[in-house]
């Protein structure tokens, strides 16, 4: 099972590091990362493995949010993207 983590907000130093740490704390493995900066905006999309995750998706979201409080953080199950965008 995988989930999609997105982090959007003003660019700063160490966002990727903080988000990855938050994932590792909950035994979540980072499978793929796409990151881009549009003007001043930082946009990170991460595909993470949640098979060994030690908490719920909501708690993972809160843990990441706690590390990067100024950013908008979403964590959603991969199924929802698959069902909406693939036939």
């Amino acid at each position: 099972m995988r989930a999609v983590v997105t982090v959007i907000g003003k660019d700063d130093i160490g966002i990727l590091a903080k988000v990855s740490t938050a994932c590792a704390e909950k035994m979540v493995s980072v499978d793929e990362v796409t990151q881009s900066i549009l003007e001043d905006y930082f946009c990170l999309i991460m595909l993470v493995g949640i098979d060994r995750m030690t908490c719920s998706i909501e708690e993972l979201q809160q843990n990441i949010q706690g590390k990067v409080p100024d950013m908008t953080v979403h964590v959603m199950h991969e199924d929802i993207f698959d069902s909406m965008h693939r036939i």
């Binding site: 999609v4 997105t6 793929e32 796409t34 946009c43 999309i45 595909l47 719920s56 998706i57 909501e58 979201q61 979403h74 964590v75 959603m76 199950h77 991969e78 199924d79 929802i80 993207f81 698959d82 069902s83 909406m84 965008h85």
Partner: protein
């Protein structure tokens, strides 16, 4: 990996464009609760609903957290209560109070099924139930009521139409200190679907399984946002295509949530009702979609054509996305629940006559319309008859949910709060229809009924 653009699109739909699962509605058959003693019958009803739907709300919340998508309402629909009244006799309000009590205990938003199906005539229990509707709605908070007075196969039961005009008024009288809330929870149907998850018209038809989970998805905001990005000179077939593609994505999400919920609850998955159901929230409006298509304001000339296209495109997208599309599926046009409709009605662009024309091409009918407080019962009956005739002849569901604003002046608004919104009092034709309504009897089924 999933396309970045797709990911951002989904998140934008949910965060900014009000995409949500409007409701998961558990349908529960109460036929096995019927008992010749009404108190015993009520006790069985209470126990069965509590047993089957006790975990509906926590399950809904768990799914919201897992997928990050809001499920706005969790509801229960039950067998038309008139069938239980037929066995038990007694005061049907007892059932309403039981439903209200159990709904509050399990935490659902509404419970539907204080209903009777009388399209061809009254059987035991039907009249008693209809008579008790105004009291039942006044004494409960969460109970919704509906009566089916006509169908393409059976014609229109004009005795029931006459009666319902009176009951709508009585329901308003009894709740006049509470924004005339009673009739906002009462729907009069023609061709009522048995698996509709949307309130106030939801009930669990006698042909349905013992327990089933139906899902209603919504997303007028998503459709409007998609259309807003389209160039203004794009031809209408391309507009229809875009609506279809958007409806497809919305329905797929509903399918995912519905099957997940039914698995968690151990209940078979029924249908997805893909309806563009507006809410008073800014941007979550069907009227704004019509305006985005190119009308200065909803209600002007061209509205019916735009709505017909919208309704059809929504269905086509939905059918491709799920093999079990059912219920009402299409576009809802409840006036008080739609910011754009409220504006259009308040400044006179949207009239009752135009709304009636729109109901011939949309998925339901005259919905959440506030009438002057002195509207006679016969006129309400006549409005119901007109609407039922449109449904009967066009083999489609139509419904009437009108609220006589008793004690309010023209120009004032009724404010129901929450999803029910607020509505201005609309003008009606003041010429009488009473002789026709007093005739009663039946309007025979039309030629369209002879399809066999």
């Amino acid at each position: 990996m999933i396309n970045t653009r797709d990911i951002i699109e989904t998140i934008t739909m949910i965060q900014e464009e009000n995409l949500d699962i409007r409701t998961i509605t558990m349908g529960i058959s109460l036929l096995d609760c019927a008992d010749s003693d009404i108190d015993r019958s009520c006790e069985k009803v209470y126990k069965k609903i509590k047993r089957l739907a006790g975990t509906l709300v926590p399950t809904g919340i768990a799914i919201e957290k897992k997928y990050g998508i809001p499920i706005v309402n969790k509801r229960v629909a039950v067998t038309p209560i008139s069938m239980l009244v037929a066995v038990s006799g007694g005061d049907p309000v007892k059932y309403a109070l039981t439903l209200d009590r159990v709904a509050k205990e399990i935490g659902v938003n509404f419970i539907g099924g204080f209903s009777a199906l009388v399209q061809k005539g009254f059987s035991a229990g039907d009249r008693e139930l209809i008579d008790s509707i105004p009291r039942a709605l006044a004494q409960t908070d969460l109970v919704c009521s509906s009566v089916n007075v006509g169908s393409t196969k059976a014609g229109i039961n004009m005795d029931a139409v006459k009666l319902m005009g009176q009951k709508v008024r009585e329901a308003a009288e009894l709740t006049k200190d509470n924004q005339c809330m009673g009739p906002a929870k009462l729907v009069v149907f023609c061709n009522a679907p048995e698996d509709n998850p949307f309130m106030a018209g939801a009930f669990h038809g006698p042909g349905e399984p013992d327990c089933v989970l139906n899902v209603g998805v919504s997303g007028p905001g998503v459709v409007r946002a998609a259309l807003a990005k389209m160039p203004k000179d794009a031809p209408l077939n391309e507009v229809a295509d875009l609506i279809k593609r958007t409806a497809f994505k919305i329905t797929r999400m509903g399918q995912l949530v519905g099957s997940e919920a039914s698995k968690m609850l151990g209940v078979p998955f029924g249908i997805i009702d893909l309806s563009l159901a507006p809410t008073p929230a800014i941007g979550d409006s069907v009227a704004y979609i019509l305006e985005e298509i190119g009308l200065e304001q909803c209600g002007t000339h061209g509205t019916t054509a735009a709505l017909a296209m919208l309704n059809d495109a929504v269905k086509k997208g939905g059918v491709m996305a799920s093999s079990t599309v059912g219920g009402l599926s299409g576009a809802f046009i409840p006036v008080s629940e739609d910011a754009g409709m409220i504006n259009a009605a308040a400044n006179g662009t949207l009239t009752l006559e135009k709304l009636e024309a729109m109901t011939a091409v949309c998925s339901v009918g005259l919905d959440m319309i506030v009438l002057p407080g002195d509207t006679p019962a016969e006129t309400i009956s006549a409005i119901i008859a007109d609407e039922a005739a449109i449904g009967m002849v066009n083999s489609k569901t139509t419904a009437v949910r009108v609220i006589p604003a008793i004690g309010y002046e023209e120009g004032q608004m009724l404010d129901f709060g929450g999803l029910l919104g607020k509505g201005p009092i609309m003008k009606i034709n003041d010429k009488s229809s009473s002789v026709m309504i007093e005739r009663g009897g039946r309007i025979p089924a039309p030629m369209q009924s002879l399809k066999n």
